[in-house]
Symmetry: none
Subunit: 198 residues, 4 copies
DNA sequence: CATGAATGAGACTTCATTCAT
DNA sequence: GATGAATGAAGTCTCATTCAT
């Protein structure tokens, strides 16, 4: 790694987190050793400790980064046509490498074991719900969705469907089938939005 | 533990698996040590090896048992009133301890790391789909569901919603809210069943 | 195993020692577990402790028995024709199973670790030397061997050759080649017996 | 231990192998624990694994090194006066510490249990035979040994005698008596070399 | 900055031995 | 006499972490 590059430290941390994220997902947090991660980047274990206090912090930063990525992605949703918007969101997810696409599910496996991860995952979740809810509120404002619908409830359910389909993909469900299921599901929710009240 | 009891060995294995299942879920497979498991039961590490060849086999047997439990539970579904049936299934899940209720999600976290677990999870998944599909087929026969619906596709989506809601519960979603979301979701799928074709 | 047989205990011990001897040789003393030995005979570990205080005593008894066997075999040597006698002794060794034929070499590997085994091996060795020496003395008396020969020295050297050839056999030397080497060696010793003085 | 020394790694491995060799011989391979070996050198267990993949590889490398040492030693034999040469070889062996002098016998105890050790021991053995045979062939060329002698057969027998005497030394035979026996034995073989044909 | 050497705690696993039945 | 259950000590090995260079 070069030395005098401005922002070099940031770059180094990103490189490390990228490797770590993949290996954590592929091997599991415990099973992926600091050595594994270092080897992938071409440095020695000791180096990792120049950038992250310990393995747990590395995990935390990886989760934070990946959850933020998802949030940014959601932030780009428009309310113009929510179905189209959802479909395009899902399509963009399909382009992600596995460790990013399935990061939420991975993180969920860690929340029982790690308070900090639990906290950040909960906060992110809350943010996702808010973002989607506000889009739905806009639709209600435009009269495109039944006023009876509880936007939070609807968001929660959409997210649940989304996550459940991701789980199925981890078990081998094809991308096309997944897309179609997601579309059909979301559409059915929208057309029955009045069922989702509190 | 008593000694020459008939079926004693089976009982001992069950006791171990029960503890293991819980600790695997709570701490993670790697993080839960054989010592932890043994201590919970009140025996020493060595004893576990009288009943299971090694830790991996213990994991496998736990998965097998828990996935079978879910399958049995699904097997009791009737097609008389599928919505009611689904609700009652979900209610019964709420009575389960966390490690059983969320076992599928736990198992999913292990499939990248363990071929045998992957295999049995896939097979179970396939069985779940078949069971639900056949109930839906019966409904189609009775004309209660649109003939256009692809029963497999519909099952997959219901399962996805179910799993997604479980994920949300792991993050703190309340039981009542979860139940209502599940009911609303399933109902919307059924009323829009024609959207689920292949 | 039957219960009321007279001398039953002795028989049982022999059965155990036979298995133990073989497994000790094939797997090594440490590597052969009490379980292995028990399984071979078709009993459980616990049973072995009815007949031998512990594993170390079992080893000791096995050594004692096998070394005694060798001594008995040597005792049958006649001085009529010492070369023929030696050849026939060697031939009879070839009929033994490996764990008996090579027992001395095996035992030697244990003497660093076990005082009791060391002691009995040394005593046996001394006996072997005495037996052979006395045969040689008889020959000297008959004038068939140079009076200058030191019978003890000659015995020691013959034994060394014998053991060295056994070592070679453990490494794959064929039985016929071994026999021929043994014969040629002994003959050359006898014809140069005057070289072996003290 | 110093750090960035050139060839430091090689030195460290040698230190470890030296300790391991001695303890393997004194206590037996199984009975000598990695902890024992580490303690002797003044490091911790973990350190050993920086240099050797596992205990079995450590054993293998020790055997390889020691057998090579013997081969080098044999390589220095000259044919000028084979008896003198043999005596000087034996004398040099007497200076070795036990674990090196008796290494062959130790290794033999492991061949039943370890394929890799078996292989390298067999190969070394073959090399020893070749080296000695070629010296004998030179003697035959010079007419110092009967042309009828089979040089391989003669070598095998000399080696056997040598090893047998070493075995006796392990049981307490004195160095001087051993030397004299070796000399007398070899001399008798040479003077009766025509007895060793194939 | 980076490394390579070392550590030490802790994990899994084996096995001789004991003992109630 | 025999067993099956249990123990606990000990052994191999891994790995996060530290630190001198």
């Amino acid at each position: 790694m070069p030395k005098v590059v401005q922002g070099y430290r940031k770059q180094a941390m990103d490189t490390i987190m990228e490797s770590a994220s993949r290996l954590f997902f592929e091997l599991g947090y415990q099973e992926a050793s600091m050595e594994d991660i270092a080897r992938e980047i071409g440095v020695t274990k000791g180096t990792l400790y120049l950038y992250f206090k310990n393995k747990e912090e590395l995990l935390y930063e990886v989760c934070k980064k990946n959850l933020k990525l998802l949030e940014d992605s959601l932030g780009k949703l428009t309310s113009a046509d929510i179905l189209e918007s959802a479909k395009s969101f899902f399509r963009s997810e399909l382009d992600l490498p596995d460790h990013l696409r399935f990061h939420w599910i991975f993180a969920l496996g860690e929340i029982n074991k790690n308070q900090k991860v639990r906290k950040i995952l909960m906060e992110s979740y809350e943010n996702y719900v808010k973002i989607i809810s506000s889009r739905i509120e806009e639709l209600k404002g435009k009269g495109l969705i039944s006023g009876e619908a509880n936007s939070r409830r609807l968001s929660l359910t959409m997210i649940a469907l989304h996550n459940g389909i991701l789980m199925s993909m981890m078990q081998g469900l094809s991308e096309t089938e997944a897309s179609e299921m997601f579309e059909a599901g979301i559409r059915s929710f929208l057309e029955n939005s009045d069922k989702f009240r509190k």
